[in-house]
């Protein structure tokens, strides 16, 4: 029980203001696809570009949330969350590939184009079942979850912490990238999956599909946010923070640190997988490049910029860094990597609590 948690009058109003702001933000996010339906000459019209990029950013925000849950609360800095995101994306990609059916270049009723091209005679066993959306969504959670379970079990059990864990997770995503580049993996090799046609019977290029995917992403964001809130506010959340700050002490107090960390790591991976599954139909492509270690570490910097240890901060960071990226890559593409690198340096040196720390006016790191 820290003194900061006793409600003072100022703090009460600040909290109220914060909640109102949050409500307004969610509402305005929810309004985007509706405003997109307005006539083009209307002052409130929102372009297709904004809606599709908004949907993409929301899935990024979910990924940031997942990273924040593991890093900000349990102190697990994973540099491989991009792999969980990409695995979820591949699960959805497999579903979308199955839905192409005879509309592919080769017109094969069952096999995707690249398999026909590579001379497959039948669908590999691990492709079975992906014609059903619920199964694909389940796999988008289960596969990253299982991978996180294995890696996490091996790592946490032998008390691999801190930078060692970061390097191992980075090696994991690197190894997966190398593996997925191979043609004989049965995942399209270098080219990955693309040329998707439809989802749930809706052609992907329509405003309707965009809106549905947008709302699905927003719903995922809100559900994960609520879930993470519940977890971090519970006793479990407090134990996680204690593990982050003094792992050995928590262990000596009798808590099973391994299990706590494993739980939060697996949950975080599953959320990241779902985010990836919603990301892929919105961008229309998934390839092994998504596994590149750079992607994972970029997602970590969203969280750092927004403010780790704050769920809203993670979301804020994902939106603001990506807004900066979209703006800079159109205005001055050469400068973007300088800006991103600079962000890494500036945030770690000067803004340890991120943007949200500025709002809260907290001094301590």
């Amino acid at each position: 029980m820290t003194p900061a948690e006793t409600p003072t009058p100022e703090r009460g109003t600040a909290r109220l203001a914060f909640r109102l702001l949050l409500m307004a933000a969610i509402l305005s996010l929810a309004m985007l696809p509706v405003l997109n339906q307005l006539p083009v000459d209307s002052a409130l019209h929102v372009s297709d570009f904004i809606v599709s990029i908004g949907g993409k950013w929301i899935t990024y925000a979910v990924l940031a949330l997942a990273i924040d849950l593991a890093w900000g609360y349990a102190g697990i800095l994973s540099l491989g969350h991009g792999a969980f995101f990409a695995l979820g994306g591949y699960a959805m990609g497999m579903h979308l590939m199955r839905l192409i059916g005879t509309r592919g270049v080769y017109g094969h009723p069952v096999l995707p184009d690249f398999m026909v091209f590579l001379g497959y005679k039948e669908l590999p066993w691990y492709w079975l079942g992906f014609e059903y959306l619920p199964y694909a969504m389940l796999m988008a959670m289960v596969v990253p979850g299982l991978l996180a379970l294995i890696i996490g079990f091996l790592a946490f059990r032998s008390r691999i912490t801190g930078v060692y864990l970061s390097i191992i997770t980075q090696a994991m995503t690197y190894a997966l990238m190398l593996a997925f580049f191979r043609n004989d993996m049965g995942f399209g090799g270098n080219n990955g999956f693309t040329d998707f046609k439809e989802l749930l019977g809706m052609p992907l290029q329509t405003a309707n599909a965009r809106a549905v995917l947008y709302y699905a992403s927003l719903a995922l964001l809100l559900v994960s946010l609520l879930l993470c809130w519940r977890i971090t506010a519970s006793k479990l959340g407090r134990v996680l923070v204690a593990i982050r700050d003094a792992e050995s002490r928590v262990r000596f107090l009798g808590y099973d640190v391994t299990q706590h960390k494993l739980f939060v790591f697996v949950l975080s991976a599953m959320i990241a997988g779902l985010a990836g599954a919603l990301y892929v139909p919105q961008v229309g492509i998934i390839n092994p490049g998504e596994f590149s270690p750079g992607n994972s570490i970029e997602a970590v910097i969203w969280v750092a910029v927004g403010g780790r240890g704050s769920l809203i901060g993670a979301i804020l960071g994902a939106f603001s860094v990506n807004a900066l990226k979209t703006w800079l890559t159109t205005v001055a593409p050469d400068l973007w990597l300088f800006a991103l690198g600079g962000l890494f340096v500036a945030v770690t040196l000067f803004l340890p609590r991120g943007l949200i720390g500025l709002f809260r006016g907290e001094k301590r790191a």
Binding site: A175, D334, V345
Partner: protein, 521 residues
């Protein structure tokens, strides 16, 4: 005495060439008469051992050998021609090129081989010896004997002995055959294996000795393959060692995780490129690479010192933040180089003394630059160990690592030591860059391919142990190369990564873990 021997030798030469000249002149008219006569004339020329026969046969091969209506043989040269027998210029009017059929062609091939066996040029003789060996024909026995008697170069002599064995195996004498089988068995090459297999199929009586010889060949081939894999692994391992040594200092000794290490390696490679360009056209140009070594070290060490003093020291005790920050620095460095030098590969030329392939004893081939990198890696490793053990800075470095506050009370300026240690580690990355510029593309993302492997080496070998880094690098290099033929380069890498993760389960602190208090830091 010497003079006497020499004159004897000269007399012998004159005698043989005198006799051969007759053979040469009498053989000539046969060329171009009929295919059968042409072939036998070619064989005679081959057997004559006359050097002039070589130019005639080469002209025949190139289609420039002409025959006039009255049966003289001319060597066509551009528009004119030379009489093959007299060497005088002759008009080529009405001369027809000598035509070939398959029989003539095969006679021509072995005759050329025969003549080249006696050629004054050593490389030509070596090639001819190989050709005669492959033809494995009994007709060559006498010729090879002559060549063997004359040959002075041991390597070519060895080739000739094998060629003789191959010829004898096709010949009539049973005892010679047996000896030939043993000789070929010792040769341990795939060609010898094929020749033996053919002989076994032709003559069932020889099956038993040939089988013995075959197992011997197979065994030595397996040894050679293993040795080659080992050397390749050693070469990859020394590259990993160079890339990881700097990390072993900054991460292993100081505990600072520097994700920009790969970019320092890249900067070292670009420094090499710059030195090469600066010296282009000057007399120092062939020495650009050795001169690049101090240049790359100093440049990367200076940048490393700046990075440590300017940024990293504010983050001591916060490794995760250090990781992110240095990653950002790496990104900026990479982009700066990309904008400054362009995204395409820059070419760093190997100096002449590093080019070419080296044949190690036992027939193991290895490129020169790989060998130099292995030597360079070992040298750098020894220097680093010596620097840490025997220099003042090394002593202070160890003191600060063991107990910073007591070191400070003893009058060591810990901040300066931190900066110098980090600069040292960064400089080592620059040295790795010099080495990598010889075998990899010098491009802005040169370093990204090595950073994860280098960390794996340090973690696998044991953080804080230089010896562990050495063993880790060489082990990973060799394991990678051993797995490659079975799994392919990419999967081998994946296997190694998985294996390291499992290994860390058993020994979380690496192969050579620090024990005691330092391990808990």
């Amino acid at each position: 005495m010497k003079r006497f021997l020499l004159s004897c030798f000269l007399a012998l030469l004159l005698m043989t060439s005198g006799r051969a000249q007759d053979g040469f002149v009498t053989a000539l008219p046969g060329l171009g008469a009929s295919f059968g006569e042409t072939a036998s004339a070619v064989e005679k020329l081959g057997a004559s051992g006359d050097p002039r026969g070589l130019s005639v046969l080469k002209a025949l091969q190139d289609g420039t050998l002409l025959r006039t209506g009255d049966g003289r043989i001319l060597l066509g040269q551009g528009n004119g021609a030379v009489d093959a027998a007299t060497g005088a210029a002759a008009p080529a009017d009405g001369a027809e090129p000598v035509r070939l059929n398959n029989r003539v062609r095969s006679a021509l091939r072995s005759a050329l081989g025969q003549l080249q066996l006696l050629s004054p040029d050593a490389t030509e003789r070596a090639a001819a010896a190989d050709a005669v060996f492959r033809s494995a024909s009994a007709e060559n026995i006498r010729l090879i004997d002559t060549a063997l008697a004359r040959e002075t170069v041991p390597a070519i002599k060895e080739k000739l002995r094998l060629a003789l064995a191959a010829a004898q195996l096709a010949g009539p004498e049973a005892e010679a055959k047996r000896q030939a089988i043993t000789t070929l068995g010792h040769a341990g090459s795939t060609e010898a294996r094929e020749i033996l297999l053919k002989a076994k199929a032709a003559d069932a009586a020889l099956a038993a000795p040939i089988d013995v010889a075959l197992t011997e060949i197979d065994r030595s081939l397996a040894y050679r393959r293993a040795a080659e894999t080992f050397v390749q692994g050693l070469s990859l391992g020394s590259v990993l060692l160079l890339a990881a040594l700097g990390l072993a200092i900054t991460f292993g000794v100081m505990g600072v995780i520097n994700m920009a290490h790969g970019e320092f390696v890249m900067l070292g490679a670009y420094a090499t490129f710059l030195v090469q360009e600066a010296l282009r056209g000057t007399p120092f140009a062939p020495w650009a690479l050795p001169l690049a070594i101090p240049a790359a070290f100093l440049i990367t060490a200076a940048i490393g010192a700046l990075l440590e003093r300017g940024f990293i020291r504010h983050l001591y005790g916060r490794p995760l933040e250090t990781l992110l920050m240095t990653f950002g620095v790496g990104m900026v460095l990479q982009q700066a180089i990309r904008l400054g030098f362009g995204a395409q590969n820059r070419e760093v030329i190997s100096p002449p003394w590093m080019q070419g392939t080296l044949l190690l004893p036992g027939g193991i081939a290895m490129t020169q630059n790989r060998l130099w990198i292995i030597l360079f890696g070992i040298l750098v490793f020894l220097l680093v160990v010596a620097a840490i053990r025997f220099t003042r800075l090394g002593l202070e470095m160890r003191a600060v690592v063991q107990n910073r506050r007591i070191a400070a009370t003893m009058g060591i300026r810990t901040g300066r030591v931190d900066a110098l240690t980090f600069a040292f580690g960064s400089g080592l990355a620059g040295l790795a860059g010099v080495a990598l510029s010889q075998i990899d593309n010098v491009s802005p993302n040169l370093g990204t391919g090595y950073i994860i492997d280098s960390f794996m080496v340090v973690v696998f070998g044991g953080v804080g142990s230089l010896f562990g880094t050495l063993v880790g690098a060489l082990t990973l290099g060799i394991i990678n190369k051993v797995l490659e033929p079975y799994a392919g380069a990419v999967l081998a890498k994946v296997f190694v990564l998985v294996a390291i993760m499992l290994f860390i389960q058993r020994r979380p602190r690496g192969l050579f873990a620090l024990k005691g208090r330092a391990a808990e830091a």
